[in-house]
């Protein structure tokens, strides 16, 4: 079964938060929604789980008992212990008793919180809190796991552990959709949705997004003209030629995924400007 949004739009009053976005995720796959702040990532995921009403389009999701959702902020009770948080989450999904306790013990063991069972949620570090929120969402073994920026603001080791849990859940058969601001995380996904100003500027596997970028990429030693089509990369600069014609003497370069994201964003902005110009 495929879950996701089909040509979905969300409006908050006069503001369009999401415009004609399509995203899908299947069992045993991880889909990543990438975008900057305010790109519409949270709205996209909130619309998918039913927290935001669509003004157009369609959302396909399983029944609530088969959804696991971690919001961008919180997701746990700071005044309950780790154990109590898990017990509540299990109870809300009808998982009680020894079976639920054994599952939560196994999850806590995996995420390294086994020794913190009696600590209050609020006493945990930021990374541990996000891990606990993820554990609460995983406890009922959801068919669709929706994670809103689960790794934002946590240290690289915790990020690595979180991704191990996410991958494990997908390997167990869950359809996982994760939003992030970190481009490197998107490369772990089987498919990626790139969002900017509420619009999808690229969708597909990381490889297909790289393949689909228009024009050519080159390396230069100083910022090249026209402005806005080059960006610093280490000691050198990357230059994107939308027409495919790189200036003389510029060395062509095979783009990586991060280059593809930057170029897709530039192309998206040009499209927005063109749209605005024709209106």
């Amino acid at each position: 079964m495929t879950w996701g949004l089909e040509s979905a739009s969300v409006r908050f009053g006069q503001t369009t938060a999401l415009q004609d976005v399509t995203v899908a995720t299947e069992p045993s796959t991880v889909t990543v929604v990438v975008g900057g702040d305010g790109a519409g990532k949270s709205t996209c995921l909130r619309a998918l789980v039913g927290l935001v009403a669509l003004s157009a389009g369609e959302a396909r999701r399983p029944p609530k008992r088969e959804i696991g959702y971690v919001p961008a902020v919180g997701g746990l009770y700071p005044d309950l212990t780790v154990d109590e948080n898990l017990a509540f989450s299990g109870g809300a999904y009808g998982r009680k008793g020894a079976g639920s306790y054994a599952t939560s013990s196994a999850i806590l063991e995996r995420i390294g919180l086994a020794d913190a069972r009696s600590l209050l949620g609020g006493q945990l570090s930021g990374g541990m809190q996000r891990k606990l929120a993820l554990a609460m969402a995983l406890l009922h073994e959801p068919a669709l796991l929706v994670l809103d920026e689960p790794t934002t603001g946590i240290d690289p080791v915790s990020r690595f552990e979180m991704w191990r849990m996410i991958s494990r859940s997908a390997a167990g058969g869950a359809a996982v959709i994760v939003s992030t601001t970190y481009v490197d995380e998107a490369q772990r996904a089987s498919s990626v949705l790139l969002l900017e100003q509420g619009r999808a500027i690229a969708m597909g596997s990381p490889f297909s997004i790289i393949e689909a970028i228009p024009g050519k990429l080159g390396v230069v030693s100083s910022p090249a003209q026209p402005a806005g089509l080059s960006w610093r990369w280490g000691k050198s600069w990357r230059l994107w030629a939308p027409s495919g014609a790189l200036p003389d003497g510029v060395e062509p370069l095979r783009p990586g995924f991060e280059d593809a994201v930057v170029i897709a964003s530039m192309a998206g902005q040009q499209e927005v400007q063109l749209d605005a110009g024709t209106r």
């Binding site: 079964m1 879950w3 619309a47 789980v49 039913g50 927290l51 935001v52 009403a53 669509l54 003004s55 157009a56 389009g57 369609e58 959302a59 396909r60 999701r61 399983p62 029944p63 609530k64 008992r65 959804i67 959702y69 971690v70 919001p71 902020v73 919180g74 997701g75 746990l76 009770y77 700071p78 809300a92 999904y93 009808g94």
Partner: protein, 361 residues
């Protein structure tokens, strides 16, 4: 320092509710309480019974406001009128001395009645009019002990405190932590969440009520002579209203500070206008209606009636009915608003998402 002052004013300007509390509320409170805060009673509802009821009633004048004259009734009917709250003073004629029965749960009214009676007798004697012997008997609170009257009302006030303030904080805490949003995604139905949220507070408040009444009885020797069941019914209805107010406050508050502010705005009028301190009957007509939309006004009628006077449930049908109406209206609108928070995608009519979900399910 200037930068700090400018920043503070900017923040204050954005926090409309605090600004309203600082400017509008004091003026409003001054006007309302100026009219409401009166201990002097201008009208005391009075029934006159017995063979000379007509003649005696003709001699009574304000503050005694005769509401019933029944020459066929005797002292037992007169006492019933006081018990059921139909009158504060009952005059029993037909024997010597003429008995003035007074409802001791109405402290200020009784004090006013006693002094007015003394004044009437003195004036009559000064004018050479023969005054028949008069005996005053104060029922239900013969020594006019203040704590006997205050404790039943304070029970209600404490329930308002728990029901409104503590409940609203509990719900807002959930919203602030971002867990309310997560609850909307769980299979828990909105009703499960609301009932699960209210039930613990209802239980705590019920235990608290028992403790308060117990302390009142033990420490202040406040009598509890009426039906526990009637008291319980009134308290349960009253609690539902206050819990509803708590949830309503929480649905329009984004953080605990706002909830506390708003809860106090709801609680303050109840403290001052419900008859807890100032008698409702002495309030100016323009503000008296406020007392009649406050649940505490009705709960005080019930708690004082049951605890001090053994007023039966039949005589308390009016406050019980009004509490029921308030419970339905307040709790009903609170649940509707809270439901909206918990089922956001149901807000936009027939959302395409809902249709797709049904197909998927």
């Amino acid at each position: 320092m200037w930068a700090m002052i400018v920043k503070e004013f900017r923040q204050l300007r954005r926090d409309r509710r605090t600004l309203a509390m600082m400017i509008v509320l004091p003026v409003l409170l001054l006007v309302i309480f100026g009219y409401a805060a009166r201990f002097n009673i201008s009208r005391i509802s009075t029934v006159v019974v017995g063979p000379q009821a007509e003649q005696v009633a003709a001699h009574l004048h304000l503050p005694f406001q005769v509401v019933e004259i029944d020459p066929d009734a005797g002292s037992s009917v007169a006492a019933l009128r006081l018990r059921d709250g139909k009158a504060v003073v009952a005059v029993v004629t037909g024997s010597s001395p003429i008995q003035f029965l007074m409802d001791g749960t109405q402290l200020f009214a009784v004090q006013t009645a006693e002094s007015a009676l003394g004044h009437m007798v003195q004036t009559a004697k000064a004018n050479g009019i023969r005054v028949p012997p008069i005996a005053v008997r104060i029922l239900y609170n013969p020594r006019l002990i203040t704590s006997w009257v205050l404790v039943p009302g304070l029970c209600g006030l404490i329930l308002v405190f728990i029901g409104t303030l503590i409940t609203s904080l509990g719900v807002v805490r959930e919203r602030q932590a971002g867990t309310l949003e997560q609850l909307a995604v769980t299979p828990l139905r909105p009703w499960d969440v609301i009932a699960g949220k209210i039930a613990p507070y209802l239980l705590v408040a019920a235990v608290d009520l028992v403790v308060i009444v117990g302390v009142g009885i033990i420490l202040f020797h406040v009598p509890f002579i009426g039906s526990v069941a009637t008291f319980g019914l009134g308290a349960a209805l009253f609690l539902l209203v206050t819990l509803g107010m708590g949830i309503l406050v929480s649905t329009v508050s984004q953080n605990q500070g706002q909830a506390i502010q708003l809860a106090f705005m709801v609680m303050l009028p109840q403290i001052l206008l419900s008859g807890l301190i100032f008698p409702v009957s002495s309030m100016a007509v323009g503000v008296r209606w406020i007392a009649y939309v406050l649940p505490l006004t009705y709960f005080i009628d019930i708690s004082r009636g049951v605890m001090l006077k053994d007023t039966p449930i039949g005589a308390l049908w009016q406050p019980l009915l009004w509490l029921s109406v308030l419970a339905v209206v307040v709790l009903g609108s609170a649940i509707l608003r809270f439901r909206r928070d918990l089922a956001p995608s149901a807000r936009v009519g027939k959302a395409p998402a809902a249709t797709a979900e049904q197909v998927a399910a």
